[in-house]
Amino acid sequence: MLMMRQGLVDPARLVSLERLDALRGVSLDDNTLVLGACTSLTDVAADDQVLQRAPSLAYACQRVGNVRVRNRATIAGNVAEADYASDPPAVLITLDAECVIQGPGGERRAPVREVITGFYETSLAEGEVITAVRVPTWPSASTYHKYISRSSEDRPCVGVAAAARFAGDEIARLTVTVGATAELPQRFDDVTDAVHGGVLDADTRAQVAAAYAERIEPISDARGSAWYRTRMVEVFVRRALEDLAHAHGVAGGVR
């Protein structure tokens, strides 16, 4: 809508998906949440299964824009827009979510990470639509930090999603994705894989945060210069990992 209003896109036709009830709603397939493509962000954020199994996703969806935006915006639309400053993609990528894509050649699946390919660009081919977003529920703790540098309705200066599964005190798996700082959501598995088997203590948290700050080449805009964003990446990766550490052992994680 914003892009239409600003004259950046000029579609010849707009097709309403409003009444495709089959594509709306949340279900559970084994341990994977299946979000119908047309499920609104409001409905994702309020869904009991999402709140229990992917609380960071519920939180991120609840923090998008304002209530009017969340009532209209859908989870698949959010992915397909591929907006670098949107909240849900970072969480979806952290959780290893994938898109179910229907096209002329049939159905295929692709990780959200591979669907979003650039500023407002996706790997969706001509004629393809996302029909569902599948969200694995492997983490024992997950969190999302939306750092806003200006008005509360602004999009994030930096968004950090983190998820972990623990085996005793040890990190069995950890993923961290930083959104809103670069063309694509930034997830560095080599950084987080390196701490698997270790403890998520202050040193580890600082190490991962520093690595993310060093690896990301941030954009500069009115929400923050590249210098500032680098600082914020370090702060909010650290704070996200603190959440996970505090949540460890607490059912459902935080947020």
């Binding site: 008005s151 509360s152 600082r231």
Partner: protein
């Protein structure tokens, strides 16, 4: 007996319409046969127009006319294609050269808005770019690009005030402080954009416009077209927000010219980005030098103000006088020297922004005083107390202050915020620091100025109040009903209020400067007094009693001592064969301080508006992000007309003020405004409202004193300095440039660490 409605929470007359969406705004107005306009704007900040190719647009479907500045200059129906309050320097469409990116260069009129838009996209002006200046200090220097050939030094207004012997006083000062503060440009962002419809009929122009100044618009349009004022009619519906954006003259000349050339009624509604291109707040650079004695009394002051006028003068030339008299703040200033200069730049023309010309200086003088207090080791509230003006004190202008309550306002906000107690809160994470700050401000009201009002009583029993004051959401029409009802001794429900229409409602200077409730109230009071006297005379004749024995009760006359002899006003008029009895009242204030621009002195304001704010902030020392947790505002209202709406003014002012304090600013890149939309330009949202937001509208202690003062912008100028002072209290960094962006605060924290380390 009807209760006096002054001070009662009488509901807004149009509250239901506003809530359910049936309120009529200018944006809803249509005229039969109306065509639609779309403006073509300059992409470059400064340059000479070599050609504008309109042929393709003219041939597009539905296009009725494509008009350029050259067309206006050549049209002999247009007496002078220039307008402006301070200087007639602004053309409706650029003539010869463009002076800012976003300036209108052509207008397309078509049958539909969509057709006008499509055609406008094909109009491509050829402009020879010339060097530009978007910074007012750069524009003030010799050799800077010249915005107007008539003003080769870019000067756009200069005023000076000199009082006492500042040089001698500086020489004796215990300490001298000198700091420079800056505030950026901003937009008032009324949710209803500028919109208007112009309709020419038999040489007469009717203009429906979203304006705060209907009579001034009429006079300017008459001037442009060489018409008698009576040949122009301006009608203003209630506004969907104004905040100064719809002051003076804005799009009306362009719409009227387009309608004239097209030979059709023409409607123009701006897009959001165009609102940003139409009016901006003055950016300012302010140097304050202050000498204090050992007690912290400000004995010597020197203030140097530079305001960015933008590309056209509008109110800036005269406005610099207001900047001068508002810049000392509410403090005794026996020895003071002030200069204020406006400078043309290649940026959006400036205009009013709620608290016009005041929010800038208030940030400077209240930050400055806090800095002095800290350096002297004196509590900032105490230092203010030692310097505040009291009744009978002479102000910097030499006028004697009366009815001033700065000390009480300061005490009120300091108490409300818990001044002197620790701001730290249990449960805060270690990276959060809390602090508190206060600020006290004064603001002049436009002086001299004039408001007229009329009240009519009819034989059918109806009562109508006429004022050209514009309801822009503050509920002015309801205020007028309350004021008229109070003066007549009737219930506000029985008073109809007519929307501004220059053919019907009498002259009013402007709905601005927090002046209407005061000015219209006095004018309505005079009208009511005369009307009641005229009714009494008619009734005395009819009842064959002395005029002195006639009393008014609830819209009827009774004979003193014989309450059974009661006749309604309508019946009195019917019996007298008078269909309507109307009386006019006038408010006219006199000043004189600005007669000599280089020697400002005397009465600058009939009343000095007074406000104060205290704020508590939480600063995240790892991000620099400032969150305003608590805010309390206080204003001196004289007598509150409507407690709920007065409170909403003070608290709404605070919320609005948080924008330019924390994140609102025009961002330019290579002369282009890069954030003219509400995705990239931030205004406060409901979640930015402080968790605790309270206010107090102070009234006369003397119950016999019924003087009423405006409350529309008393707290907004105090918001930024209160918050900046609270940030200093929290983390010890002093930010002298607004807004208090997180990144700016973090850099200051880093610099502090470097210095301390």
């Amino acid at each position: 007996m009807t209760v006096n409605p002054i001070g009662l929470d009488y509901p807004m007359k149009d509250a239901r319409d506003r809530v359910v969406g049936t309120m009529r705004f200018t944006i809803d107005h249509e005229v039969e046969g109306m065509a639609h306009a779309r403006v073509v704007r300059s992409m470059v900040p400064h340059g000479t127009i070599t050609s504008i190719d309109t042929a393709e647009a003219a041939a597009m479907p539905g296009v009725i006319a494509v008009v350029t500045g050259a067309d206006l200059a050549a049209d002999d129906r247009i007496a002078s294609p220039f307008f402006g309050i301070g200087r007639k320097d602004q053309p409706p469409l650029a003539i010869g050269k463009v002076r800012y990116a976003g300036e209108p260069v052509a207008v397309v009129v078509a049958e539909t808005e969509r057709q006008a838009r499509a055609a406008a996209e094909t109009v491509w002006p050829e402009i020879d770019e010339t060097p530009f200046a978007t910074d007012h200090l750069e524009a003030s220097r010799p050799g800077a690009p010249v915005v107007h050939d008539d003003w080769p030094d870019n000067a756009c207004g200069a005023f000076r005030l000199h009082r006492g012997d500042p040089d001698a006083a500086f020489a004796t000062a215990h300490r001298v402080y000198e700091m420079t503060y800056t505030t950026p440009s901003a937009n008032p962002v009324p949710l209803e954009p500028h919109v208007g419809v112009a309709h020419w009929e038999d040489g007469r122009l009717t203009m429906w416009s979203s304006t705060q100044w209907p009579h001034v618009v009429r006079n300017e349009l008459a001037n442009i077209f060489g018409l008698e004022r009576e040949a122009v009619r301006v009608i203003a519906f209630p506004l969907g927000g104004g905040f100064g954006a719809k002051g003076q003259v804005k799009m009306e000349p362009l719409i009227a010219c387009a309608a004239l050339v097209a030979g059709r009624p023409v409607r123009l509604q701006l897009d959001r980005d165009e609102v940003f291109f139409t009016v901006a707040k003055h950016a300012a650079t302010m140097r304050f030098r202050t000498g204090v004695d050992a007690d912290g009394q400000m004995i010597a002051r020197e203030i140097e103000l530079h305001y960015d006028a933008g590309a056209y003068a509008n109110t800036t030339p005269g406005g610099m006088g207001n900047a001068v008299v508002r810049s000392p703040g509410p403090y005794r200033s026996p020895n003071i020297h002030i200069t204020a200069n406006g400078w043309y730049t290649n940026t959006v023309p400036t205009g009013s922004y709620r608290g016009a010309l005041t929010t800038q200086v208030a940030f400077a003088y209240e930050s400055h005083l806090d800095e002095i207090a800290h350096d002297l080791g004196i509590d900032p509230v105490e230092l203010r107390r030692r310097n505040l003006l009291h009744d009978g004190d002479e102000y910097a202008t030499g006028e004697s202050m009366h009815d001033v309550h700065f000390a009480e306002l300061l005490d009120d906000v300091a108490n409300a915020i818990g001044w002197g107690e620790s701001a730290a809160a249990d449960g805060d994470p270690p990276h959060i620091r809390r602090g508190r700050g206060v600020a006290v401000i004064l603001k002049s009201t436009p002086t001299p100025s004039r408001s007229e009002a009329r009240i009519a009583c009819r034989a059918d029993g109806t009562i109508t109040a006429y004022s050209s004051g514009v309801d822009m959401g503050q509920g002015l029409s309801t205020t007028i009903a309350q004021l008229a009802a109070s003066a007549l001794g009737v219930h506000p429900d029985v008073v109809d209020v007519v929307d501004p229409d220059t053919d019907i409602t009498p002259y009013d200077a402007m709905t601005a400067g927090s002046r209407l409730t005061h000015a219209a109230g006095i004018a309505l009071g005079h009208a009511a007094t005369d009307l009641l006297a005229a009714l009494a005379e008619l009734a005395a004749d009819q009842m064959e009693v002395a005029v002195d024995d006639v009393e008014h009760v609830d819209g009827a006359v009774v004979v003193r001592g014989a309450p059974a002899m009661r006749t309604s006003w309508g019946q009195v008029l019917a019996d007298a064969g008078v269909a309507e009895l109307a009386r006019d009242g006038v408010f006219q204030s006199e000043g004189g301080a600005f007669a000599e621009p280089m020697d400002v002195k005397g009465v600058a304001s009939v009343h000095w508006h007074q406000g104060a704010v205290a704020a508590e902030v939480a600063v995240d020392i790892e991000t620099g992000k400032v969150t305003v947790e608590r805010c309390h505002g206080a204003a001196f209202a004289g007598r509150v007309v409507n407690p709920t709406r007065a409170r909403q003014q003070s608290e709404g002012s605070i919320i609005m003020g948080l924008g330019p304090t924390l994140f609102e600013e025009y961002l330019l890149d290579n002369g282009q405004l890069v954030n003219p939309n509400l995705s990239d330009y931030m205004i406060p949202s409901v979640l930015d409202v402080p968790v605790a937001l309270t206010s107090h509208n102070m009234e006369h202690v003397d119950r016999a004193n019924n003087e009423i003062h405006g409350v529309g912008e008393m707290t907004i100028p105090a918001v930024a300095p209160a918050v900046a002072n609270a940030v200093f209290d929290a983390v010890g960094v002093r930010i002298r440039d607004l807004p208090l962006r997180a990144e700016r605060v973090l850099r200051a924290l880093d610099a502090q660490e470097t210095t301390d380390g």
